[in-house]
Amino acid sequence: MKKAQELLKRMMVVMAATVSMLLASSSFASADLGRVDATHSSAILHSEYAVAEAGETVWLGLELAPREGWHSYWKNYGDSGAAPLLYWTLPEGVTAGEPLYPTPHRMPIGPLMNYGYEEPSILLIPLSISDDFTGRSIPIGLEAEWLVCEIECVPQDGSWNAELPVGQMQVDDAARHVFRAARVALPEMAIWSSELTVYSAQSRLKLHVSEAEVEGVSDAYFFPAGEGVAEYAAEQQWSITSEGLFVDMQRLEGGVDATSGDGVLVLTFEDKSQRAIEVEAVVNQDTVVPAKAGSSPSVQALLPLWQALVFALLGGMVLNLMPCVFPVLSLKAFSFIAANSKTETGRKQEGWAYTAGIWVSFMIIVGVLLMIKSGGAAIGWGFQLQEPAFVGSLVLLMVLVALSLSGMFNITVGVEGAGQGLASQDGNKGAFFQGVLAALVATPCTAPLMAPAIGYALTQPAPVVFLIFSLLAFGLALPFLALSYSPALAKLMPSPGPWMEKLKEALAFPMYLTAAWLLYVFNLQAGATATLALLVALIVAIFGVWLWQSFSGRISRSIAVLFMVGAIAGIIYQPFSAPPGSASQESSEIQPYSEENLSKLLGDGETVFAYFTAEWCITCKVNEQVALFTDDTQALMAEKGIKLLKGDWTNRNDEIANLLADYGRAGVPLYLLFPKGQSEAIILPEILTPGIIADAINDIE
C-alpha cells in the first residue's frame, strides 16, 4: 500500500510539474517576442509558433502601428519615404527571409505619391531552420528601423532579443488571430501570368485573364515593387479586352531602367469590394510607343494583322482619290494616255517601275520615322511635313517639275517624248520617279481605312510595320499597275499628236498650285523671312538648271551645280527659320487643344468636339471646308452649346502626338466628340460630311 501511495504521490508530483511546465510554456508562448514603444509608433514582434522545429520554416510577424494620423511604408515607398529595414542576428542554421508586405495604399502628398499604411500593418517573415540545428532554442536578435510620417517624418527604431524554443512544432494559439489577419491583408498569390512592357515614356502591364474572370471591375491600380516602372503620382489607365487586363502607366523618360515586373495589382469592383493580386510580370523593353489599350477597340492589338493588311491595301487604293495625290496622278494619267505608242512589255515594266518608286519612298519614310521614334520623340505619320526643310524642298521639286511641263526645260518626268516612241528604259525611270512623287505628296493625306492601319502598324515591331506600309504602297500603285496590264485600255487611248504637247503644258498648272499650297504651309511653319529666303533659293536653283542646259562647258556646268547645291543647302538648313507664331485666324470661340483645356471643359460638364488638323493635311482642310465650318454645322453646334477644341499639328507637338497615339492614330485628321463631360470620346470617320457630324451630335442626346 505504501508503495502504491508513494507511486501515486510521485505521479502527482510529476503531473503537477508537467502541468506547471505546460502552463509556464504556454504563458511564455502566448506572450509575443517583445514590444517596442517608439516615439510615434509601436512595434510588436510576433511568433506564429510557440515551439519551432529543426528542418521547418516558422513565421514571425512584425506589427508596426503608427500613431493616429501617421503612416508607415510599403517596400516600395513611392516618391519619398523609406522602407522598413530589418537586421537580424540569428544563430548558424537559421535564416530570415524577405518579409511579405500587406497590400499597400496610395497616399498622395502634394505633387508626390507614397505607398504605405495608415493603419497597423504586419510584415510576415519566414524563419528557416536547418535540419541539423541542435540548439534547444533560437536566440532571435532584431534591429529594425522604420519610418513613420504625418507630414513630417520621424524614423523609428527598436531592437529585440528573444528566445524561441525548439522541439516539436507547436502553434501558439494566442497568436493565431494575428497571423490570420496578417495573411488576409496579403495580396493573393500570382495566379495569372503577366507581362510588363516598358517603353521610353510609359509602361504597360498585361495580365492574361479572361473577361469573365474580371467582370464588374470598376478600377484597377498597379503598385510596382521595382523602380523605373511608373511615375507614382501620375494616373494609371486601365482597360479590359478579350486579350486580358491592361494597365498603362506613365514613366519618367530616361529614368532608372525597369528591371522588375513584380508588384501588386488592386482591382476594385462595382460593389466596392477589392481584390489584391500579386504580380510577377516578365519585363519586355520596347521602343515603339503603343496605342492606348481599350480606348478605341477597333485599332487595338485586337485588330488582327490580316485585317490591318487589308485596310492598308484598300486604304492605299482609296488614297488615289484623295486631293493631294491628284496633281501627280494627272501626270501619271498623261503618261498612260501615251500607252498606245508603247509595247505591251514596256507598259508592264513601267507599271512596275511606278510601283517600285512608291514602295521605295514609303520604306525610306517609314525607316526614318522608326529611327526618330526609337529616339523617343513623339511623332507620327506625316511627320516629314512638320519639318520646314522638307516642305521647302518639296516646293522646289514641284516648281521644277511644273517648269519642265511648261516646257522651260527638258527634264525627264516620264511624259516628254510621248508620241516619239521613247526608249522604254527612260520610260521606266520616269515611271519610277512618278511613283516617288506620288508617295511624297500622298503622305499629308489620310484616306478612310488607312488611319487605323497606320495607327496599328506603328505599335508593332519593325517587320510588321514594313509589311503594312508595303501593302499601303502597293494599294496606292495598284490602279495604274492594273491598267498597265490591260491591252484593251491601251487601244482605247487616242493616237498621239501635237495635242499632247498642249495637254502636257496644261498639266503644269495643278503642279504650280501644289507648290503654292506648300509655300503657304512653309510660311506658317518658318515665317515670312524664311519664305523670302526660300523664294530666292528657288530662283537660284532655276537659274542653275537654266545655266546647265544653256551652256555645255565644264566651267559653266560646275557653276550651275554650285548654284543648285547652294540653293538646296539653303532650303535644308533654313538659316532664317523663325519659331512659329500663332497662325490661328479662326474665331476666338475655338480654343486650342491641350490636355488641360480638355479636362477643364469636361470637368464643367460641357460637350466637346475636338478636331486635330494640320495646315499640310489636305484631307483635314477639305473636311473643315465642306463639313465642319459650314453654316449648318456651326449653327447646330452653337444650338447644342458644343465647345470646339482645335489641335494644330502643323508643327511637331508631343501633347497632340500622345493623344493621337491614345486613339490608335499616327496622324491627322482625328475628330472626337466627347458627350457631356465624359472622358470617353466618340471617334468620327476621317472623311466628314455635315450629315455625319449632325448624326453623331444627335445620337448623343
Binding site: 502634394g110 508626390l112 529614368g255
Partner: protein, 210 residues
C-alpha cells in the same frame, strides 16, 4: 537637246537622302539636359544655372529638420562630400524647396545661420519656397542629389548613398553614390549608376502652384 537632259531621277534620290539627313537629326536629341533655372540665394543674389557653364554643378535638395538630412550633416557625411567635389572645382548649390509654414522652410537670415552652423561647403543656398525649381527637376526627397557636368548635362540623379536609413550607424557600410558617380566622371568613364532611387523625407512643397 537630249544629251543636256537634266535627270530628275537623280534629283529625287538626292532629295530623299537629304530629307533623311534633316529629319534624322532630332533623333539624337539629348533628353538628359539639365533644365536651366534662376534662383534667389540666401544672400539675395540671383543665380542662373547656365552662369556656371564650364563648371560641374551639384544640386542638393535639403531640409534641415528632416531626420535623413540630419543624419548626413550630423555625421559630417554631407560636408565631406561637399568638400571633395568643391575642391575638384564643382559648384555646390543647396536648394530648399519647403514652402512657408512647412517643415524646413527658412528665411534668408536663418538660412545663413544654419549654413554656417552646420559647416556646409555649399557655394550657394537657393531659397525655392514656391517649389518651382524643385518641380522642374522632379526633386522628391530630402536629400535628393543632382550632378550636372560642364556642358549642362545631368550625369547623376538620386540618393546620396545606397542604404536608405536615418541611422548614422549605417554610413560605414554605405556606398556614397554621389562620390562614386563623381569618381567615374573624373576618370572619364561612364557613370556606373547614373540614376538611383532617392530616399528620405518628402520635399515639403507648397500646395498651390503659383
Amino acid at each position: 537637246m537630249r544629251n543636256s537632259t537634266f535627270s530628275l531621277n537623280q534629283f529625287a534620290t538626292l532629295f530623299l537622302v537629304g530629307v533623311l539627313a534633316v529629319v534624322a537629326v532630332p533623333a539624337n536629341a539629348d533628353n538628359k539636359r539639365a533644365p536651366d533655372f534662376v534662383g534667389v540665394t540666401m544672400t539675395g543674389d540671383h543665380i542662373r544655372l547656365s552662369d556656371f557653364r564650364g563648371k560641374a554643378v551639384v544640386l542638393e535638395w535639403t531640409n534641415h529638420q528632416c531626420p535623413y538630412v540630419r543624419k548626413h550633416y550630423s555625421s559630417g557625411n554631407m560636408q565631406k562630400t561637399q568638400r571633395a567635389l568643391t575642391e575638384d572645382g564643382a559648384v555646390w548649390i543647396s536648394i530648399i524647396s519647403s514652402a512657408p509654414g512647412k517643415q524646413g522652410y527658412v528665411a534668408a537670415e536663418e538660412a545663413q545661420k544654419l549654413t554656417a552652423a552646420r559647416g556646409s561647403y555649399a557655394g550657394y543656398v537657393i531659397l525655392d519656397s514656391d517649389g518651382s525649381i524643385g518641380r522642374q527637376y522632379g526633386a522628391k526627397t530630402t536629400p535628393h542629389m543632382f550632378v550636372i557636368d560642364e556642358n549642362g548635362h545631368l550625369i547623376y540623379q538620386g540618393a546620396i548613398d545606397d542604404i536608405p536609413s536615418a541611422s548614422r550607424r549605417t554610413l560605414k557600410d554605405a556606398t556614397n553614390l554621389v562620390l562614386a558617380a563623381w569618381t567615374d566622371f573624373q576618370a572619364g568613364e561612364p557613370i556606373a549608376r547614373p540614376i538611383t532611387k532617392p530616399y528620405g523625407c518628402t520635399v515639403k512643397y507648397s500646395d498651390t502652384i503659383d
